[in-house]
């Protein structure tokens, strides 16, 4: 892997380089919320940790498969694939955990059948990851997703007045070539020292004491522990927010909309949630998961167990979004705690 240094003074120039590759997107605070937004050079933003907000409410999946879009245009005689008009994007500011999330999406959407809509957007998205300062909700160190080795095109490690830049793909290399004079290939001992020091400091930020050891087995063994699941089921509002924010939740629904003239219409695909009441309900009314407890079990089976069967890892990447989002504090931390027979809970501030 090639590594470069770029001075923060060159960020404006870098921005110009990135714009040549597509729309530049960055997580920034909007109306008090951290959101991925399109950025223009006049916004004068930098890519440093202090400018980029931590943990955008909706992770990168929002740009790779939007909350809703049309998949088909149809009339009574013919269904046609809807034109997607996907722009090329350079998305800066994803942290290691979220890029792990994208790697899971990549596997999921390209195993067996390849989802054409995901693939089209994914191919046009350049991912420039950035280092972060974990807060009390983060636990990617416990899910082995705090370090990222693949899935990004470039990764920027913020080391004070400069970034250490890791090149992760051929496209990333193209960016380096385009901004040739901005990137310095001379990695001195001083820089290496800075980086090792950063690693140490960074590790000390983690305070979350979630304990994943054996959780996959516990998920299996406590599947029929009704008391445990009903404790959470009784609180759950079936609002689906946990699924919207989780980087590895992918469920969707499709619905047909007719135009006013009624001779043509569109098939719309939109994010769905396994927490919604009718998620497993078939035509005729039989509901395979009537209760909130049953639906929560499905969610946590998926996060803590099911993915191992499919892809070798659990699908929780430790981003902490469910912790900061669920209005009644049902989250990975609290479920893991109960699975372990403990009652300690992490409550969002």
């Amino acid at each position: 892997m090639r590594v470069y240094k770029i001075s923060k003074q060159d960020e404006k120039k870098l921005f110009k380089v990135l714009e040549k590759f597509g729309e530049v997107w960055l997580p920034v605070k909007k109306g008090g919320k951290c959101t991925f937004s399109r950025i223009y050079s006049e916004d004068r933003l930098t890519f440093s940790q202090t400018e980029i907000c931590n943990r955008p409410l909706l992770p990168l999946k929002k740009l790779l498969l939007p909350p809703e879009f049309n998949t088909l245009d149809f009339n009574a005689e013919r269904y046609n694939r809807a034109e997607q008009n996907v722009p090329s994007r350079v998305v800066v500011g994803s942290h290691a955990c979220d890029i792990h999330g994208v790697n899971i999406l990549d596997k999921f959407y390209t195993t067996d059948f390849i989802d054409p809509f995901y693939r089209e957007r994914r191919k046009k998205t350049i991912i420039i990851g950035t280092s972060c300062e974990p807060d009390e909700y983060c636990f990617c160190n416990k899910t082995n997703t705090n370090i990222i080795e693949e899935g990004y095109d470039l990764f920027f490690n913020d080391l004070g007045h400069y970034y250490l830049v890791w090149v992760g793909s051929s496209k990333g290399d193209d960016i380096i070539r385009e901004g040739d004079d901005l990137f310095d290939e001379n990695i001195t001992d001083k820089i290496i020292g800075d980086f090792i020091n950063w690693r140490k400091v960074n590790e000390n930020f983690f305070t979350n004491d979630i304990d994943f050891y054996g959780v996959t087995d516990l998920m299996e063994l406590k599947y029929n522990d009704n008391e445990l699941w009903e404790y959470f089921g009784d609180k759950c509002l079936s609002c689906g927010q946990c699924t919207m924010v989780c980087p590895t939740c992918t469920c969707f629904n499709v619905i047909d909309d007719l135009e006013v003239n009624k001779n043509e219409g569109h098939r719309r695909r939109y994010w769905d949630s396994c927490m919604f009441k009718d998620y497993s309900m078939v035509a005729g009314g039989h509901n395979f998961r009537k209760t909130r407890a049953e639906r929560l079990k499905l969610w946590y089976t998926h996060k803590l167990k099911a993915f191992i069967g499919q892809f070798g890892n659990p699908s929780c990447v430790g981003c902490g979004r469910c912790i900061v989002t669920c209005p009644v504090d049902i989250n990975v931390y609290n479920v893991v705690s109960r699975l372990k027979g403990q009652e300690k809970e992490l409550i969002r501030k």
Binding site: Y79, R81, F113, V282, A306
Partner: protein, 286 residues
């Protein structure tokens, strides 16, 4: 399972309805063929697979294929009116078009059934996918041993495919048992030919079952499986030789929308046919 990198994974082809008839008041039988520019499309499938059927403006849903692959060209479905898509389908006339994607799912493991005796158990609408298997077996009669078919329904009015089945009662190719929860037979042709009770009540009448060479296929309402499996296990039929075709909500058919998930698998990909051995290992399958 086929691998697909198809930009049109979610795009249905157009099919034309060539005939339809009511099997009972709320179940209609549709026959359709690829239409227009898709005329040349060959739809290859296995008994037990399903397809995603689109009704103009109403949406898309999963439907078991009812025709046998041994009768090429025409695809048949038996569809119960329940919900938006099927209501729209029921308004369609001959010559009208629908959208179709698939086939999807694993289907019945024909390879494991060849040369074996079959016990096929259908409850209610479960006869629709099993019809595909039965007709396939009859079309390849020499490739199978005994074909035992037990079909249960609520009452005689809800018995589907009744003409063909009554003919089969007289056939020496298949051992057919019909049973109704409530058996009030008005029509003479049914007199004495339909038992009263559940499908499980029939098993005591089955003679000389050789568990070593018997494979079972079951499809029916969710409540039925456990009771039928218990009966099959009493005959000592292997847990890996009992196959259940299950229903789940499906919005994609290709393992992406999530709705059909059970434990760590997707019914649309690894099902809808599961062995009883799978059932023991997976949560909440039946």
């Amino acid at each position: 399972m086929k691998l697909a990198n198809d930009p049109h994974l979610y795009t249905p082809i157009t099919m034309r309805i060539i005939a339809k008839r009511d099997l009972c008041p709320d179940v209609r039988f549709f026959q359709m063929v690829p239409a227009g520019e898709f005329k040349q499309v060959k739809i290859d499938y296995k008994p037990g697979q399903f397809m995603m059927l689109s009704a103009f403006g109403a949406g898309e849903g999963p439907f078991s294929i009812s025709s046998p692959p041994s009768r090429k060209g025409i695809i048949e479905f038996g569809i119960r009116k329940a919900g938006k898509v099927t209501e729209k389908l029921f308004t369609l006339r001959d010559g009208d078009t629908v959208g179709l994607r698939g086939p999807f799912g694993n289907g019945f493991p024909i390879e494991k059934m060849l040369g074996k005796d079959l016990i096929i158990v259908a409850g209610g609408l479960g006869v629709v996918p099993l019809r595909s298997l039965i007709l396939y077996a009859l079309d390849n009669r020499e490739s199978f041993g005994r074909i035992i078919f037990i079909y249960g329904f609520k009452n005689v009015e809800e018995m589907l495919f009744n003409e063909v089945l009554l003919e089969m009662l007289d056939s020496d190719q298949i051992e057919l048992y019909l049973t109704a929860d409530k058996c009030e037979v008005k029509d003479d042709k049914y007199k004495g030919r339909i038992c009263e009770g559940q499908v499980t009540g029939i098993f005591k009448d089955l003679k000389n079952i050789d568990p070593g060479r018997t494979v079972a296929a079951v499809c029916g309402p969710p409540v039925m499986y456990k009771f039928v499996v218990d009966k099959l296990l009493e005959f000592n039929i292997g847990k890996n030789n009992i196959f259940l075709s299950l229903e789940r909500r499906m919005k994609c058919g290709v393992g992406k929308c999530g709705h059909c998930s059970i434990d760590y698998i997707y019914t649309c990909m690894e099902g809808p046919v599961f062995s009883y051995w799978d059932v023991i290992h997976m949560r909440d399958l039946i």
